[in-house]
């Protein structure tokens, strides 16, 4: 069984995530999410108002990145805080149970 991740390390991960460009990140893949003729890109600072997509930050491109890489990186921006919150919730639950 591996050693538990320390709270310090988890805090470092959270700070790293919080320091990245703000807002929602979405991968938009050529021919899948937008029409052929536009490079695959990660849109950052995305917000949706009614049925309109708004962008507040510049695009992010990967050199040599696969579609899976684009999807992974863009989702990580949203997934990491979710996972950290889940770890915190479970640790709190564990502590309460063990008390």
């Amino acid at each position: 069984m591996s050693e538990p991740i320390t709270n310090d390390y988890l805090e470092t991960v959270r700070k790293r995530c919080d320091s990245s460009t703000k807002g929602l990140w979405i991968a938009s893949v050529e021919g899948r999410d937008h029409p052929l003729g536009g490079e695959t890109v990660i849109l950052r600072g995305v917000s949706r108002e009614d049925d309109v997509l708004r962008r507040d930050e510049d695009d992010l491109y990967l050199i040599g990145g696969t579609v899976a890489d684009y999807d992974f990186i863009s989702h990580a921006k949203q997934d990491i805080p979710l996972l950290l919150n889940e770890v915190a919730r479970l640790r709190k639950l564990l502590k309460k149970t063990s008390d």
Binding site: S28, V29, E30, G31, R32, D33, H34, P35, L36, G37, G38, E39, T40, V41, L43, R48, D51, V52, L53, R54, R55, D58, D59, Y61, I63, G64, G65
Partner: protein, 211 residues
């Protein structure tokens, strides 16, 4: 009935493209319905005489239709001819004038061209199937409108040909990019040279959701 719908919708799509440089698919759908409704009767007028598709200027014409014909027996065959001829015509390359602007969304760096969807790279480094937007008499705003990228590269069909490449308009089959065209025969470095420096995508402040 279905043949009539295909013919009418196809002609409408082609005529729209030639006239305006883009295709309103809602209008095409309306023509498909109209074509289906009329196919059962007046289209027999096309029977008994060979139907030849030809491009005359900016319009598509059906030559050889005998409006006096009542050859019901041959009607189905003639409609099939019309349908296949229209399909073949629509699939044939549409030429772009040298002055036509050509846009690609993104950084347009050499490193990005090879990763484009549908792109193949030959042994000599030249590429085939590089997707772009291009159409006659269309502005950068028009041509960049299908893209989500903040920046776009712009060149002309003439500059692509001058560099030794070919550009083929192919909007049919690309309903989400009515200006779709493909570039063949240029290397990634040549393409970067043609499309950079890029400019801000003039269409990007507020855009509709892609899906």
């Amino acid at each position: 009935m279905a043949v009539g719908a295909v013919v009418d919708a196809s002609i409408n799509a082609y005529t729209q493209y030639q006239d305006t440089g883009h295709i309103n698919w809602g209008e095409v759908g309306e023509h498909a319905v109209q074509g289906a409704l009329i196919a059962g009767a007046p289209f027999v007028a096309l029977a008994a005489t060979p139907v030849v598709m030809s491009e005359t200027g900016n319009s598509l014409s059906l030559a050889g239709a005998n409006t006096n014909s009542t050859g019901l027996f041959n009607a189905g065959q003639s409609l099939n001819n019309v349908s296949s001829n229209v399909a073949a015509f629509l699939n044939s390359p549409i030429s772009l004038p040298d002055s036509a602007l050509v846009c690609r969304g993104g950084t347009c760096l050499a490193s990005q061209f090879a990763g484009g969807t549908g792109v193949t790279v030959e042994a000599d480094g030249t590429m085939s199937g590089v997707s772009v937007s291009s159409a006659s008499n269309k502005t950068i705003e028009n041509l960049s409108s299908p893209y989500l990228n903040n920046q776009v590269g712009v060149t002309t069909a003439g500059q692509i040909r001058a560099a030794g490449g070919q550009i083929t308009s192919s909007p049919i089959g690309n309903p989400y990019n009515p200006y779709h065209a493909s570039i063949d025969g240029l290397t990634a470095q040549q393409l970067e040279g043609l499309f950079t420096p890029t400019i801000r995508n003039p269409y990007i402040t507020f855009i509709n959701m892609p899906r």
